[in-house]
């Protein structure tokens, strides 16, 4: 399932608001607001009280008049503490501002200058990053002289290198993107590219880092003032108060503890708020791909056995490898649950190859993941019946069942680079399967792995076992992945777009290999793909999915001539093949694929269907058995000859819809 929703301007505001809704975000935002408000208000309101000298009350402890006591001139420490917020926060922000400005300049300059100078700047930043910040600050304090200005500059410049480094990394990442190349082609200059294209796209992480950095500066400043390198009397900030209070810490501990506490609270406010926002920035998309979280399948509470089909299978023996009834997969979404799979029912016989075809968002991958029990939390899977090799998978699996699943069920993913561990040798990864599930020792397991690699026709199998995944080419890696699947003796191989990442010539090799394994070992294959022709070539039966449902289930041989669902017909017509008439426009399917978070009432395809009428938009058609093995979910099924009649209808419809379709 690919959900690559890009960020919009409104999305940014929405996510900062979302940060406020988390407990940490709300508390830290409130704290931050109070600290900032105090910084503004306190110096205006209470400067008088804070600087009022009262020689009669020198160095007193906490009392009702002086909540945390007085200092050596009898000034009220509580008010001094409040008023000090102003200077502390102001200096911290000033230092952060300098750090951010210097960091931004240093970080973006390499992208503006010639490569050679850019490299020099980068090298300089890299050296500067290696210096400990506080050491740098003390070094600067000595150069700039002891006092506020020196300290602000010192802390600002000390935080600059790490900010510059982050900026550089982010700029470099954005510069690789195609939209920068497109802007270059449009004749947009370097400066404008930086200001209009790159900076807006890296602003968010930079702002978050700056917020957290402000907390750090505050602490650093308190430290410098405490050491006497920062604010000098008669001015005072928290660090200074802490310094003064420390002399009498055994007599009046509150005089030292209170400024310390203030520093902690303000520092926490900045840091936590930054963290909370950062967390919502990195929010993963609700529906993500694979992952090995344990999946719990539950039966729906109200089992509505919709057409409890005794599914006909083209193979003769009535012992299905896999039976699925009413499979649902759903994820919690911001506006109610998203249900990418909505009541899928089918069965697979031994040695049968079935293809699942659909566009992105049709739920085909989620179906595969649900079968492999790999749907990630917070996704939930339910089914009224889910049996693998006669074992019920709905109850929590016993040890034996897990064993069966481990050895008899194999899964091949689209990108074999992502499904192998890049730091482990291929041999060790294959052997692990045999060691875990077949109880072999290491030597036996490696021998088995070599044998399996030979079976998937990887040349020089023994040598290959000692190699890492990156040393394999794409096609070889996919073979090794299939080899891993047949380490046990699988009854079913689920292959999710196994050839999409491969080249056409290699694609054929992998498909041929899958077919060969199927023939030799009587293995059932569930091949998931977006390519109808490809599936038709390998499989005996094809399931066409649209918006989370199977809309048609038909023998592959009937695909070209006897497809009945308008969607299947449209798919067949829309894809050019080597016989397509070059002088006529391609048939098109108007509109866009259904969004799993917004499935309409009635037939999900109705808005794109040339045959749709009022009935279709009101009621969802059920998947009904027609003649031998053919199932269709459509109110108006008709036998189009795939490539002739339907395209014309669709074209007319497309013309009518031109405006809104696009």
């Amino acid at each position: 399932m690919r959900t690559s929703k890009t960020v919009t301007a409104s999305g940014m505001a929405a996510r900062w608001l979302a940060a406020l809704k988390t407990p940490v975000g709300a508390v830290s935002a409130a704290m931050l607001f109070m600290v900032l408000a105090m910084a503004v208000v306190a110096p205006i309101l209470w400067t008088g009280q804070a600087e009022e000298i009262n020689t009669k009350a020198i160095l007193q402890g906490p009392s009702p008049e002086h909540l945390i006591g007085t200092d050596s001139l009898g000034r009220d420490l509580f008010y001094r503490l409040l008023v000090a917020t102003g200077l502390s926060v102001k200096l911290a922000l000033a230092a952060t501002g300098i750090g951010v400005a210097a960091g931004l300049v240093l970080g973006t300059v390499p992208s503006l200058l010639s490569r050679r100078i850019g490299r020099l700047v980068t090298a300089f930043v890299n050296i500067a990053v290696a210096f400990p910040g506080l050491l740098l600050a003390m070094f600067f304090a000595v150069i700039f002289g002891v006092g506020q200005t020196g300290a602000v500059l010192a802390i600002g410049l000390a935080t600059a290198p790490s900010f510059a480094r982050l900026t550089q990394t982010l700029v470099a990442a954005q510069s690789e993107r195609d939209y920068i190349a497109a802007a270059k082609l449009a004749g947009v200059g370097r400066v404008r590219r930086l200001l209009r294209h790159i900076l807006p796209n890296i602003a968010e992480p930079l702002v978050v880092t700056a917020t957290i950095g402000a907390g750090g500066s505050l602490l650093a400043f308190a430290g410098l003032s405490f050491l006497g390198l920062g604010v000098q009397p008669p001015a005072y900030d928290w660090g200074r108060l802490l310094n003064e209070g420390l002399n009498d810490i055994y007599l009046h501990p509150m005089a030292a503890l209170a400024p310390g506490l203030a520093v902690v609270v303000a520092g926490l406010a900045f840091n936590l708020f930054g963290e909370a926002v950062a967390k919502t920035l990195g929010t993963p998309t609700p529906i993500s791909g694979k992952g090995a979280a344990t999946q719990h399948i539950h039966r729906p509470k109200t089992v509505a056995p919709s057409t409890d089909v005794e599914l006909s299978t083209s193979s003769s023996d009535g012992d299905p490898v896999l039976t699925v009834n009413d499979l649902f997969v759903s994820f919690p979404g911001p506006a109610g649950p998203i249900t990418p799979v909505r009541g899928v029912s089918f069965s697979l016989a031994r040695g049968e190859a079935v293809g699942v075809v659909g566009e992105s968002g049709s739920g085909k991958t989620q179906t595969a993941l649900a079968l492999a029990q790999l749907v990630e939390y917070p996704g939930s899977v339910s089914a009224s019946r889910l049996e693998f090799l006669g074992q019920d998978q709905l109850s929590s699996p016993s040890r034996a069942q897990r064993q069966t699943l481990g050895t008899s069920f194999a899964m091949v993913f689209q990108d074999p680079m992502k499904s192998f561990n890049p730091t482990m040798r291929i041999g060790a990864q294959l052997a692990e399967v045999a060691q875990r599930h077949l109880g072999m020792n290491r030597r036996q397991a490696l021998a088995r792995a070599a044998d399996r690699l030979r079976a998937v026709r990887v040349p020089a199998a023994e040598r290959r076992l000692r190699q890492y995944p990156h040393e394999f080419s794409g096609g070889m890696r996919q073979r090794a992945m299939i080899g891993m699947g047949i380490m046990g003796s699988p009854a079913l191989i689920v292959a999710d777009e196994p050839t999409t990442a491969l080249d056409v010539t290699v694609q054929q090799q992998v498909l041929r290999l899958l077919s060969a394994i199927k023939e030799q070992d009587n293995v059932a294959i569930l091949l998931i793909s977006h390519d109808l022709t490809l599936v038709g070539q390998v499989c005996e039966r094809v399931l066409v999915m649209y918006a989370g449902r199977i809309v048609e289930d038909l023998p592959a041989t009937e695909l070209a001539e006897r497809a009945m669902h308008p969607y299947t017909q449209a798919l067949l017509a829309a894809v050019p093949d080597m016989e397509t008439d070059r002088d006529r426009p391609l048939a098109v399917v108007p509109g866009r694929p259904a969004d799993p978070s917004r499935i309409p009432a009635g037939c999900a395809f109705a808005s794109r269907c040339p045959k749709a009428d009022e009935h279709c938009t009101r009621e969802d058609p059920e998947l009904l058995q027609r003649d031998d093995g053919h199932r269709v979910a459509c109110w108006h099924p008709s036998r189009g000859t795939g490539s002739e009649r339907v395209p014309i209808e669709l074209k007319l419809h497309a013309a009518a819809l031109q405006g809104e379709a696009s």
Binding site: V7, T8, A186, G189, Q508, H530, A574, A587, V589, P593
Partner: protein, 329 residues
């Protein structure tokens, strides 16, 4: 002669241990024609495209437009524009569609805000989008719509040549057709020259007037689309054609495959960092030394395109003088 001409173009990445992604490519994209460039990933198709667009520096040869090297100065008209594979990444997510397109309008004739806005609306109409869409952001649109926007932005530069790099491979199959139709219509209406890059031979066949086949950084065969498809000369082209799945193609059951063909099937693609000696395809070639052991020439001598039909870089391709298919190869 408004044409794009590649002359002995080479692109090298990295230093001494680097790799040559494009190696001495000669190719002409004639005025108003579509040249399809096919090949597997890593064959250098996209690098060639980026080199033409000036996004990747050449290490040898030159790319000429109308006999002039393509090196536009700032603010000058750019005769060449490019459309990228993934529209989600080729449009700035923080810029409205209209702003993205407006940026492509050449500075010279840009005029005021009003004229720019009307130009954006005209372009949106041209690619079949509602002009009101100018205020949308990329996140609010589907892949097919975004690819139309990317086309509109490319057209905003009033290009003579468009380079389309795998523009349909990131789209859903039901949407792919609409984009292909649009590209074809626009190309014909505006009389654009186009380099159309795709790994999908069926798509290239539908769009292109001429086809060039690329393998490991070299063009191994080129010619009119009809000829390449009906009478391929280079064994790699033949393999590519045979690999296209079609509804009528035979089943994949490997019952009757003889060992030589099986050996070819199991051969691994060559490593572009260490291209093989002699003919670059000999490690996978079904009519090379893998199957016919006496063909040492493939292992040792680099085949030249000169003198062969469709400039096929194969020792055993038919000669120019021979008409029709001769012999069993």
């Amino acid at each position: 002669m408004s044409e794009l001409r590649f002359e002995q173009v080479s692109v090298r990445f990295g230093g001494r241990r680097g790799m040559t992604a494009v190696d001495g490519v000669d190719l002409i994209v004639p005025k108003g024609q579509v040249v399809g460039l096919v090949g597997e990933s890593g064959s250098g198709k996209s690098t060639l495209a980026r080199a033409a667009a000036g996004l990747t520096p050449l290490s040898g040869g030159q790319i000429l437009f109308n006999g002039q090297p393509l090196r536009p100065k700032r603010g000058e008209h750019r005769p060449l524009q490019m459309v990228f594979q993934d529209p989600h990444s080729s449009l700035n997510p923080r810029m409205s569609i209209g702003d993205s397109i407006a940026e492509g309008i050449p500075r010279a004739g840009r005029g005021g805000t009003a004229s720019r806005r009307s130009e954006v609306q005209r372009l949106l109409g041209l690619v079949g989008l509602d002009p009101q869409r100018a205020f949308s952001y990329p996140g609010q649109m589907s892949g097919g719509q975004l690819q139309r926007v990317a086309l509109a932005r490319a057209l905003a530069g009033q290009p003579k040549v468009i380079i389309a790099d795998e523009i349909t491979s990131a789209l859903d199959v039901s949407v792919q057709g609409t984009v292909l139709n649009l590209v074809r219509d626009l190309q014909r209406d505006l009389n654009l020259s186009m380099l159309f890059i795709s790994h999908n031979l069926a798509v290239v066949r539908y769009v292109a007037d001429a086809i060039a086949v690329m393998y490991l950084g070299r063009i191994v065969e080129q010619g009119p689309a009809e000829q390449i498809l009906s009478d391929p000369q280079h064994p790699y082209t033949k393999d590519l054609l045979a690999a296209v799945p079609s509804q009528g193609s035979p089943s994949l059951t490997p019952a009757d495959i003889d060992p030589a063909v099986q050996a070819v099937n199991d051969a691994e693609p060559a490593d572009p960092h260490h291209p093989p000696s002699g003919c670059r395809y000999h490690l996978r070639c079904p009519m090379g030394p893998l199957v016919l052991p006496d063909r040492d020439v493939c292992r040792e001598v680099d085949p030249q395109p000169e003198g062969h039909r469709q400039a096929a870089a194969c020792h055993f391709a038919n000669d120019l003088t021979i008409s029709g298919r001769v012999g069993l190869l």
